[in-house]
Structures are given as structure tokens and as C-alpha cells.
């Protein structure tokens, strides 16, 4: 299959469903869900799962607060003002020397189309090449870089929110986030998400550096983070080692199933078109998505609820088959060879276990019996305690 055939086929699978511009944030959010056929297919085809099921009961609950949006914009704008003056000043704290080169801003003057992305990717590549060659006057700050890489056999471009800087010949990446840092502490979930995004950016940079034939140690394994300090918008910079996050990102991406392989599981007429068409009847839309999900498989975990727009849909499917995954990965591990919660309840109630279910069934039966006894004994126990 040629790349062109593949992308044409993916376009037919998307079939007019809402499209999502590929960026590093989306990549970071998708990566933990690589075991899921539906997510892999949607990712390869560029379907925006957050908007796919709008109008149904399973619409993704991720709305953006206009206050958060405004705050983020104000903060970023402030850093970019006067040719990134504030950003330069912060980066100087970590050894950046502004006079060494120019700042390249790819956010402006490029159309937000596939063609625009392609041109930005080319420019990014050229800039990185110049930096690696240590060419005189090479830029030393890139804002709005677009990096290309091959994931699941599909070549895709990813726009980075982060900025990349050359500091003492090494490429570093920094994410601009508007959540406040107070006393050196911040919201751990938001911090983790930001660091993951930088880690994916650094990983893409490493791949590019590798493609260009330079050693990987030209890319830093530390994330720079520019955030407001305290409750105002006064920016500060901090550094965090993200080496292990980069390794994890690499592992996750290596696990993504080959798009061609997933596509082979999809019959010709099927795609995301009907599901994403808000003019169709709800039941019809959901049926179409169920059919597709049955073909490629899903892998629901409670973590999906915070990362994937289809999570409510998959949770409903997991509920219908009483999957232990509803409770969480620990429950799945503790119920080896038990296919559903209903089966676990049966076993606990004394149903005859199959051979492979025997070890866990013994524990379940005991737990159930002890619970029944304890429930009966409680009233007696209370009296006993009162008498003592």
C-alpha cells in the first residue's frame, strides 16, 4: 500500500466526521490509549473524538472555560510581545543568549491548512538542520514548530504549543502554561499533562535530529516550563527532568498498532461518517459506531474518561458486558480468567468454576460467605460490645 492510497483510505474512513488538527497535545493524550483499535483508527484518520458524538448522550464532557482560555491567551501573548522579549528574559535564566541568533515565529503568516502545516514542517526542519550544523546566525528560538513523524505507518505533522530554544548548542523545549505555581507547588495533574506534552515534543525533536544524522544528545532531556508565579501573571521559569517521560512516550508510540492493519479490519462501507453526522438520528449514529467498534475492538479503562472523547460510549459498552475494567485495572488483575463482573458474582455465589477460574473462585466464595456472616453478626456484635 502506498502512502497516498493509505491516506485516501483514511480520508474515506473519516468520511466527513469532525477533523482534528494534529498537534502534540492530541498525540500525548492519545498515546496511553494505543491498545484501543477504535482510538488507533480515529487517530490515524484524524477524527476529533471530542466532537464526534456531540448531540448524543455520550458527547464528551470536555468544555473549555472562556476564563481559562482568556487567561491562557493573555499569558502567552504577554510572553510573545515585542518579539518574545519576556520569553528571552526568562530563558536567559537557564543560559539562553539572545544575541546568538534570531527568533523564528511560525505561528504567523502560514495558513491553517495541510499545505501550511507542510511548509511549517519544512521550515522547522531547515532551522533544526542549521542549528545542528552550528551555522553562524542560525535561529535560536522557534515558536510554533511543526514536526513530522511516522506513527502507525502514517506520516503526520504535529504542531507544537511549546517553544524550542538552542542553549549552548543543545535543543531544549519549553511549554507555556497559565496555571499558577505557588511556593514551588502546583496542580499535579496539570503539571503532569504539561510535562508529558514537552516529553512528546522532545521525542519528536529527537526523531528529527536522528533523521538528520546527528547524535541524540543534541536534544535535552529536561523540560522548561514557563508559568505564572503566584496569583498574578508574572512569569517564571522552572526546569524538570522528563527523561523517563520521553522513554515512556517512545514505548507508547512503539505500541501503536499499524494503521494498515487496523484498516484491514474495517469493511469498505464503514467509517466515522454516520456517527459524526449530527443530522442523523441518534440511534443510527450510535449503531454505526458500535458496528465499527465491534470490528476494530475497544479497550476501555477508567483512565479513558479523562483523555478520550469516546470514553462514555466505551464505558456503556463495557457496562453492557459487565467488564471488570469498569472498576479499574486492579480489578482486572485480581480476576484473572474471569470474563465479567456477572461471572465473578456467580462464582462468589457458589457456581461451579472452570479449572482456570478455581483459584480466584475460592477467594470470592470465601469473601462472600464472610460478608454474609458479618452482616448477620453485626447486630449481635453490637449487643456483645454493649454488655462488656
Amino acid at each position: 500500500v502506498t502512502a497516498a492510497e493509505l491516506s485516501a483510505r483514511l480520508e474515506r474512513i473519516r468520511a466527513g466526521a469532525p477533523r482534528r488538527s494534529p498537534n502534540v497535545r492530541v498525540l500525548a493524550a492519545f498515546a496511553p490509549n494505543t491498545g484501543c483499535g477504535l482510538a488507533a483508527l480515529g487517530f490515524a484518520a484524524g477524527v476529533d473524538f471530542d466532537r464526534l458524538l456531540v448531540g448524543t448522550d455520550f458527547a464528551a464532557p470536555f468544555g473549555q472555560s472562556p476564563f481559562a482560555f482568556e487567561r491562557g491567551n493573555r499569558f502567552e501573548k504577554m510572553l510573545r510581545e515585542n518579539g518574545h522579549a519576556k520569553a528571552h528574559k526568562l530563558l536567559q535564566q537557564v543560559g539562553f543568549r539572545r544575541e546568538e541568533g534570531l527568533t523564528v515565529n511560525l505561528r504567523e503568516n502560514y495558513p491553517r491548512t495541510k499545505e501550511g502545516m507542510k511548509r511549517r514542517a519544512d521550515v522547522t526542519r531547515g532551522v533544526i538542520q542549521a542549528i545542528l550544523e552550528a551555522r553562524a546566525g542560525a535561529p535560536n528560538l522557534i515558536d510554533g514548530a511543526v514536526l513530522q513523524t511516522t506513527i502507525a505507518g502514517v506520516r503526520a505533522s504535529f504542531e507544537a504549543d511549546a517553544i524550542a530554544a538552542r542553549i549552548a548548542g543543545v535543543l531544549r523545549a519549553g511549554e507555556v502554561k497559565s496555571f499558577p505555581v505557588v511556593d514551588g507547588r502546583t496542580d499535579p495533574d496539570k503539571l503532569a499533562a504539561a510535562l508529558d506534552q514537552v516529553a512528546f515534543y522532545l521525542l519528536l525533536l529527537r526523531r528529527l535530529v536522528d533523521e538528520l544524522g546527528y547524535p541524540l544528545d543534541r536534544v535535552s532531556r529536561e523540560a522548561l516550563l514557563i508559568t505564572p508565579k503566584n496569583v498574578g501573571l508574572e512569569p517564571m521559569i522552572s526546569m524538570q527532568d522528563v527523561g523517563r517521560r520521553i522513554d515512556r512516550a517512545e514505548r507508547l508510540l512503539a505500541r501503536v498498532r499499524d494503521a494498515a492493519e487496523v484498516i484491514d479490519m474495517v469493511p469498505n462501507r464503514m467509517g466515522f461518517g454516520v456517527a459524526g453526522d449530527s443530522k442523523q438520528e441518534t440511534d443510527k449514529r450510535l449503531d454505526a459506531l458500535h458496528e465499527l467498534a465491534d470490528q476494530v475492538g475497544t479497550d476501555y479503562r477508567p483512565d479513558c474518561l479523562s483523555t478520550c472523547g469516546n470514553a462514555f460510549f466505551c464505558r456503556e459498552r463495557a457496562f453492557k458486558v459487565a467488564s471488570p475494567a469498569l472498576i479499574g485495572p486492579q480489578a482486572v488483575r485480581l480476576l484473572p480468567c474471569v470474563r465479567s463482573l456477572d461471572r465473578a458474582a456467580e462464582l462468589a455465589g457458589g457456581a461451579r468454576p472452570r479449572d482456570e477460574e478455581k483459584p480466584v473462585a475460592a477467594q470470592l466464595v470465601r469473601a462472600e460467605r464472610l460478608y454474609a456472616q458479618a452482616a448477620n453478626a453485626t447486630t449481635g456484635g453490637e449487643q456483645r460490645r454493649a454488655a462488656r
Partner: protein
Amino acid sequence: VNHLDLVLAAQSHREGRALRSASFRHRRLVKRSIALVLWQLGAEPFTAAAIGWGCSPCDLHLRVAGEPRNRQLAFAALLELARWFNPVFEKAGADREMVARGKLAIERATDAPQVMVANRATVTMLERLGRRLAYLPLDGEWAADPALVRFGRHLQFLALHAAVPGQQLVVSMTDLLGDHWVTAQSAAERQSLAALDAFIDPPGRKHGFDAAAEAERASVGPVPEGDEDEHLEPLVSRFNEARAGVTDEASVAPLLRPIRTHFAPLVRRTWDLLWRTRARELTYSEAPSVERRWAEDREAYTRHLDWMANAGRRRTRQTARQAALTLRRLEDAQVVLEAEEACDDPVRMIPYLLDHKAVRGTVRGIDRGHRELATKRMVARPLLTLDSPDVCLMPPGKELYWSEASAGPSWIVHDLRPHGMGTLVVLKLETSTATAEIPDVGAEVCFSIHSARPSYVPVLRQEEPWTHKPQEDRHSGPIESGATGVENGGGA
């Protein structure tokens, strides 16, 4: 997650409702809880957009800040709460009793206040508000009202104390329910009070899953969800236009109505949810050990009030010594909590029975005459034979405690013999009978690893034992921005 949780979760899934994971209520709920409901703007975690407070279900006070990103407006709203909160919170500390601590006697308040909130997110929000208010300057151009600072310090204490396992000064209702009910939900879903409550008590004949899926769409606060902020944003913009930079109470108050109308149903929903779930938990009887933990809470509360009375301040980051001692204290509290709950409540003991960390059965015989050689002379070491219906997989030499006298001496697994489907376990008391309580022959008993004996508390030297030390207390100061500190963020 243990096998009991799984069995209960599986049954919960089958029956479509929650199952109780305790036969008691293991936390105190006082007569007049101070209920707090908070709402923030998206991405503005250090300021409250709406606050609801009160001491009974029909006594909800609601205050909105209007533009919480403006410091004066935000503080005006918080001040109203602070003026109400401080006296209510401090009143319980007036009446004191003396208690012995070794050779010393310390004072302890006979009562303590209890703050009830919806979830852990509200507790961390209280912590952030406390951080912001506690260090405000009391003099100079931007002097804050002393009540506000006082309120901030109470919040700091509460947030710190909330980390102590089993404490009851701060009740996060979601955690309280989560500790007492098993539902076929994941841990993250159980963090929504609305969803958890819907699963516990699904309306009509609905399955808990469907009821929860419906309920979780509505937010409980403090973080706005879905499109809430999209509805709020135009109201705030209009409010800002109308007030034209003015922040004084008299001119602003009449403009707040639309914003108030936006928040009123949200806060009311959480408010009703809080009191309804509280009422349901009150129908379960309180576990015996709750009283001891409440005494500890009262002691901590008394210490806090006395510390405040001496104008004591808290560091925003603990010293290494404080941190080590705090960690130790929290870990100890966790161990004692698990022990007390398991010994109080047969359902809580089940996971330990399943794990072979406890054994139950009938006392078949007691051999008081058993003696063995200690270092020099023969001493009494009574043996107890326990007839357990379960297969017991404990190694000989394992230390156990009788669950009805868990503060007493330890017993050692002396011998194990298979007996029918179960096991005959011979336990040896580690001391003579003189001081120890021993169960009667024929009694149904449980022996477990849980000991309620106080653990050894290490004495740490005042000075940290390393040469390179961080700067002293860099962070304990106000966190307002800029020289003027008036407008913070947008909405000017």
C-alpha cells in the same frame, strides 16, 4: 482493591445499587456541621467565584464575588464568610478539660467544630484560599481585614489536618461515602458526589450505572464543568462594564443579581446533596473507636487555637524535621485507623481474613499451666487453641492480637494443624496471665495483626544532620502580584 471489594462490586453491578462496605459509620458527624460549598472560575484556582455556607440544611447563605479576579471584590465576598465562620469555628474551643499526658497535664477543648464539604477538591481549594489569606499584610496601603487573615489561618490548619487518616474536623462527603459504600464504579468516577450518591440510591427502578451517568453531568464544584463558564462569562463581562472599575460594596451589590442567579441553583444542588447524604449516613450507628479519634481531633484543634492566640504562624513549606515528623504521624494514624476499624467492624476485618493476616474461630481450650524456659526460669505462657473453620496459612511465630483487646499483649502462632475443612491454631500468649485479658472457652473470637498499642515515637534532634541547608522559609509571604496588587488577571 481486595477480593471483598470485587465481590461487592460484582454484586453492585448485578443489583444496580451500592453495597455497604462497613457495618458501622467510622466517622463522627456532629450535630451542627459547618457546611461549605465553593465554586471557582476555570483556571482561577486561588479565588472563589461563589460561596455557600451555613450550619443546617435550611440555612444556606450564598455570596458571589462578581468578578473574583479582582482582589477587592474577591476579598469582600470572602470577608463576609470569614466574619461568620471565625466565631462559629472558635466557639467550641472555649470550654476546656484537663487530660494527663504522662506526667504532664494538657488542656483540651471539650468540643470541636466540623467542616463539611463535598469533595477533596474543595478541601484543596480551602487550602489554596488559606494560603492566599493567611499571610496578607495587616498594615500599610493594602492592609487586609484581620478577620480575613484569621480565616486564612483556620483554613490552613484545616487543610493540614485533613491529611490525617481518620480525622473528623474536615469531612469530605465524597470520601466518607467512598469509605462506606462499594459501587461498580472506578475510583475517579467515585470522586463525583452526585454520581456516587446516584449509585447508592438510584431514583426509581434505574440501574445505579445509568443514574450515575446522568448525575455526573452536573458539577458539584469547586471546578466548573462543561459549559457552565460559557454561560457565566457574558454575565461577568456585563457586570464589569456596569461597575466601570468601581469596587465599593454599595455600588457593586445591586449589579450582582444575574451572577447570583447563575450560581444559586448550582450551589443549592450541591448543598442539598451534602445534607441529604449526611442524613443517610447518620442512620448508621457510629463505630466505637470514633470517640478516641474525636478526642485526638479536639486536641489538634485546641493546639491550633492556642497557637493562633500566641500569634503563631505556619510555614508554607515545612522544615525537613517537621516533614519527617509529620509523615511519621500520618503513617501512624493510618496504621491505628486500619486497626481500629477492623477491630470495631467485622466487615472491615474480612480483607485481613482473606489475606491470612487474621484468623477467626471458636476457642476450644486454654492451657493456663503451660510453662516454658525464659532466660533463666520457667514462666507461664498460656496456650489457646482456636478452632477455625478456614484454612489458615500463617507461619508459626507470627504475632497476632485479640481483636477485642487489641491494645493488649501479643500472641504468637505456636502450632497449626489441619482439622476437617479448617485449622486448629494454637496461640501462645507472650506474657503471663497476670495482666492480660484472655477470651473464654467457647467464645467466637478473631485474632489479627492489628494492634492498637501506641507506637514508638522517635526523638529527632532540632538541627538537621546535614551541612547544606536551604534558605529559611523563603515562601511564607503574600502571593498577591505587582506593586499595587489590585487587579489580578483579567476583568479590569
